[in-house]
Symmetry: C2
C-alpha cells in the first residue's frame, strides 16, 4: 500500500493546505498556531504517517540535544549505577544519551578521538576513565562541553570522591579494631585501561599503615582482575601464607564478595578469623553484612549529568572540582582482632617488625 517513500514536511504542508513553516510550528508546539490549523495539521500528520526527521531538525537548529557518555565496559556495578543516574538526568533535561563503552586503551583512544575530531553531540561526560594528556588536549581544543565523573582533569568540571581518603578510612577502620596484618586485594592487573581508583585506595592503605607505624608488606598486596573470582583466587593465596593477614581490604565490594567466598572455603570464619572490608556499598554489601566504604554512586552520575546540562546551557556549573563524601559502614564482616589462632610465631601482633 504505502510506498517506501518517506513523507516529509513539505508533503504534509501541501496536504494540509498550509506552509511548511506552519507544520514546523505545530511540530514544535509553538503557541502561534490557530487551534483549528493545529488540529488539521496534526490530522494530516497522522494520516500520512509522517515521521519528522530528528537529524534534519538537529542540523537546522544547530544542536542535536544529544550527549555522549564515555564509560568503561559495563562490568562494574559502580559504573552502571553512575551511568544509569546520568542517563536519567539527561532524559529529564530532554537530552538523548549516546553510550560509548571502552574495553581497551585503543578503543579509548578511538572514542576520545572521535569525540574531539567530530561534531557528534552537544556535550559529553567521561565516567570512571582516566584520560591521558593527548586525550585531554584533544578534548580541550575541540571546545566540546565536558564534565567528568569519578575521574578528573584540570579545567574540567569533575565530580569525584577522595579515593586515597577512602583507602585510608578502610584501613584505619581495621587498624582501630586491632588488626596489624592487613592485606589489600584489588584489581587493575592485566587491564590496559587507566583505572586509577584502586591505585589511589592502595595509596590510602599505605598511608594509614605508615601513620600507625605499620610496615607495608608487598606480599600482602595482591592485584588481579575486577571479578569476584579473581579476588577469591588472590585471597586463597593470601590465606595460605605462613603469616596470613587477619584482615583484608578489598578495593571494591565485587572483590570483597570473592574474598568472603575464599575465606569460607579456607575454613576461616568472618569476622572471627578474618575481617573483610569492601568499597562502594553496593546493594549486595548490605545483604552480605559486608563492612564497606560508602560512596554516593547515583549522586555522582546525577551531578555529572546536570553539570553538563548547565554547561551546555551556558549556566554556571559551580565548583570545578566537586568532591562527594565517603563514609565507613561497619557491618558484620569486620571485628576486633582476637589473638591470632594461626602461626603462633614471633611476629604475632608485631607485623611492624617484619622486613619492609
Amino acid at each position: 500500500m504505502a510506498s517506501a517513500h518517506r513523507v516529509n514536511i513539505a508533503e504534509v504542508a501541501t496536504a494540509a493546505g498550509v506552509s511548511v513553516g506552519t507544520v514546523s510550528r505545530v511540530l514544535n508546539e509553538s503557541p502561534n498556531v490557530r487551534e483549528m490549523t493545529r488540529r488539521r495539521v496534526t490530522e494530516v500528520i497522522k494520516r500520512l504517517n509522517y515521521r519528522p526527521s530528528k537529524t534534519a531538525a538537529s542540523l537546522s537548529r544547530g544542536s542535536s540535544r544529544t550527549v555522549v557518555i564515555l564509560v568503561p565496559f559495563l562490568t562494574r556495578p559502580s559504573v552502571v549505577a553512575r551511568l544509569a543516574s546520568a542517563i536519567r538526568v539527561f532524559d529529564d533535561h530532554g537530552f538523548d544519551t549516546l553510550v560509548r563503552t571502552v574495553e581497551t586503551a585503543a578503543q579509548c583512544d578511538r572514542h576520545v578521538a572521535a569525540l574531539s575530531a567530530r561534531d557528534e553531540a552537544d556535550g559529553a561526560v567521561v565516567l570512571s576513565l582516566r584520560l591521558n594528556r593527548v586525550h585531554l588536549e584533544a578534548l580541550r581544543s575541540s571546545r566540546l562541553p565536558l564534565t567528568m565523573v569519578d575521574t578528573e582533569a584540570p579545567g574540567v568540571p569533575s565530580t569525584i570522591v577522595d579515593d586515597v581518603r577512602g583507602g585510608w578510612l578502610a584501613t584505619e577502620h581495621l587498624i582501630s579494631l586491632g588488626h596489624r596484618r592487613i592485606a589489600f586485594v584489588g584489581d587493575g592487573r592485566g587491564c590496559d585501561l587507566r583505572f586509577v581508583s584502586t591505585r589511589r585506595r592502595l595509596l590510602g592503605y599505605r598511608r594509614a599503615l605508615e601513620h600507625h607505624g605499620l610496615a607495608y608488606d608487598p606480599a600482602l598486596v595482591r592485584l588481579g582482575q575486577h571479578s569476584a573470582a579473581s579476588a577469591a583466587a588472590l585471597t586463597t593465596r593470601l590465606l595460605a601464607l605462613a603469616e596470613p593477614p587477619t584482615a583484608i581490604f578489598a578495593s571494591a565490594d565485587t572483590l570483597a564478595i570473592g574474598v568472603l567466598a575464599a575465606a569460607d572455603q579456607a575454613g576461616r570464619a568472618v569476622p572471627a578469623d578474618l575481617s573483610v572490608i569492601g568499597f562502594d556499598d553496593l546493594d549486595a554489601a548490605a545483604q552480605l553484612g559486608l563492612s564497606t566504604i560508602h560512596q554516593p554512586l547515583a549522586e555522582s552520575g546525577e551531578h555529572g549529568g546536570s553539570r553538563l546540562c548547565a554547561l551546555i546551557g551556558g549556566q554556571p556549573v559551580g565548583r570545578l572540582r566537586e568532591e562527594l563524601p565517603l563514609t565507613v559502614v561497619a557491618r558484620a564482616s569486620t571485628a576486633r582482632l582476637k589473638w591470632r589462632p594461626w602461626p603462633v610465631g614471633s611476629g604475632a601482633l608485631q607485623a611492624a617488625e617484619t622486613p619492609a
Copy 2:
C-alpha cells in the same frame, strides 16, 4: 584567538585549494584522492580545527548510523549484561547506541511513542521490556527496523529464553532432591512496567508442582521489589510460617542473595536446613555457591544487536523467534531434603495434602 565560529567543509576546501567534494572524500577515506591532496587537506583540517558535523553527514547520507536501545532502568545485572554486549556489537558494526531507560509505564509510552513517531535512528532493540498492543502497532506502522531481546512480539525478530521452562527446571531440581514444600520468591510487585519473566518462571514452578502432584500453596509464593533486601524480607516471613518451606526458588540471583541472607539471619543453614536456587547465573552466584538456572545473557544481547544490524543492512535475520538454552547449575545451595527438623506435624513431606 579562535572565534566562536564553527568552521565548515567549504572553508576547509577553500583553505586547501580544493573543492568540498574532495574534502568530503578525504573525510570518508575514499580511495579516489591523490596522496598529496589528502595530506594537504588533512593538514588544513588540523590547522583550522575543523570538526565535521555528524548531523549534516547523517542528513545528507540519509542514515544516522545510530540505533536506539530501549531498556528498563539499569538496576538488574541481567539487563546490564545484555545491554553491554549489544552495545559492543553495535560499536563493532560502526553504529552509535542511544540508550533510553524506562522506569515507569508512562515513560515507556513516551519513549515508544517517540521511537514510532519520529525518525531518530536506523533501528532499535527493545530489551527486557514487555510492550502492549498500542506500542507494537505504533512500532509496526513506523516500519522502524526492530529486534527484541528477552521479550517478544509477533513478527519481530526476538531472542528469548523459555522462562516457563526455567521455572520448571528450577522447581524440578528441588523436587528431585526430595523437597515438597517449595516457596517462590519473586519481583514485579509495585512496578507498573510489564516485566514478565518472573510471572513466567512462576508458571513453570506451578506446572512442575502440578506435574508431581504437589499442591500449589499461595502462602508460599511471595512477590516484592527487585532487590535483595526485598527478597530477604519476604524470606524472613516465609521462614516464620508454621510450616515453612524446605526450599526456595528465587526468580533471580539478585533475589536469591537476599534469600540466603535472610536464611542466615533466621539461623537456617543452607543447604542443610534450606535449599535455595536462583536464576540467571550472575558472577556472584558462582562465588556464593548458589545453585541457579544459567541463561546466556551476553549472548542474547549480541544476537539482538547483530540481528538488528542485519535487518538494517537488508540481510536475512534468521528465525524470527530465537530461543537460547537454559541449564541447571547445581552448586552448594541446594541439597537433598533431610527429614524436616521443624514443625513435625501431620503435613510433613505431604504438602500435597494441604488445601489448595
